[in-house]
Symmetry: C2
Subunit: 202 residues, 2 copies
């Protein structure tokens, strides 16, 4: 005995969401069908639209619904400074700190040899071509202060050595082992203004 | 600064799921877009199909994709015994116990005057007409052992008084295989006051 086919399919499909196991998926399905069918329809439409409309910015790799994201398309942003982050959530967190006027490069991950994720998988080949075009003066490394984030930052440090580009790492205020997207705006503002040349950390 | 419109819509739409707050919705959205766009499309389709296809069984009110659910449509089920439960998940749990061959009536909730949920809202008007048609010999009350579930059971007891229908309540107590020290106090109190002579259990 199981639920009806369409209900079983829905329970199974909900498990694509992170942190949703069989029990949660069942509870969610029954809730939607018993109490929020309108919500279910809206969610279906939002999912379809998101997948259709959301691609990646051709410059910074962040999510975007046009060729360029809002930040890259904004002529008031300072293109000589590029902040490298792991995820779109990090861009949002930094933007909400309202302390940064440069542009970003979004890795959509970090180096992780154990998962087979190398430099090209996080766009570092693209990034290398971009930053050596002469316009970029400073690269701020804002990968997460985790093992993988640090390894990614070291890789970038090596990659940009000898290019003459000033390389900095946000440092003060971000707790080690913490994830950037959960840090409050003023702490992030402090970490940005207190950035130090990478050589000084060694 | 926010995410792009389609992404913000998706984050908002995911909040229709029980237990999903703004942070979880953001994490889920980014996960789907970064790593599981196929899962997102399947989920959208499953939601649409579930809302379109799944209605209620005209007899027992359980979810069904036809006029009658599988159980009500099964001629081998004993229609003289009706088990009253609160939710489709309860039907599934009882079916999985493989110990019941009667039919069900699914309230899709319980009496809750504080939320304005009265007898008609949980189908008791329909139920009263069904059980007094002469075919039903026994009604098993299997509402949850909560304040609302007990109140609903009491209401049904009053409703069926004098109809000649045998009325029973599923036994509550310490779960088999459960360890006494982990069973909550009110369950233990109930198990103690509802103790039965050992011979009667055989
Ligand atoms: Zn961009
Ligand atoms: Zn039915």
């Amino acid at each position: 005995m199981k639920f009806s086919p369409a209900l079983e399919s829905l329970i199974e499909a909900l498990r694509c969401l992170p942190g949703v196991g069989p029990r949660s998926a069942q509870r969610m399905s029954l809730h939607l069908l018993e109490r929020d069918r309108e919500g279910a329809e809206t969610l279906a439409q939002s999912l379809t639209e998101a997948v259709e409309k959301i691609g990646h910015c051709s410059r910074c790799r962040n999510f975007a619904e046009e060729t360029l994201c809002e930040i890259c398309a904004d002529p008031r942003r300072d293109r000589s400074t590029v902040c490298v982050v792991e995820s779109p959530a990090d861009v949002l967190a930094l933007e909400q700190s309202a302390s940064y006027r440069g542009v970003y490069f979004v890795l959509m991950g970090h180096l992780s040899p154990i998962d087979g994720i190398g430099p090209d998988d996080i766009g570092l080949d693209v990034f290398q071509r971009q930053v050596t075009d002469g316009e970029v003066k400073e690269v701020i490394l804002a990968t997460n202060p985790t093992v993988e984030g640090e390894a990614t930052a070291y890789f970038l440090t090596d990659m940009l050595a000898g290019t003459g580009i000033s390389l900095t790492r946000i440092a003060h205020g971000v707790p080690l082992g913490g994830e950037l997207e959960y840090v409050d705006g003023s702490t992030l503002a402090h970490a940005l203004s207190g950035r130090v040349p990478v050589d000084a950390q060694r």
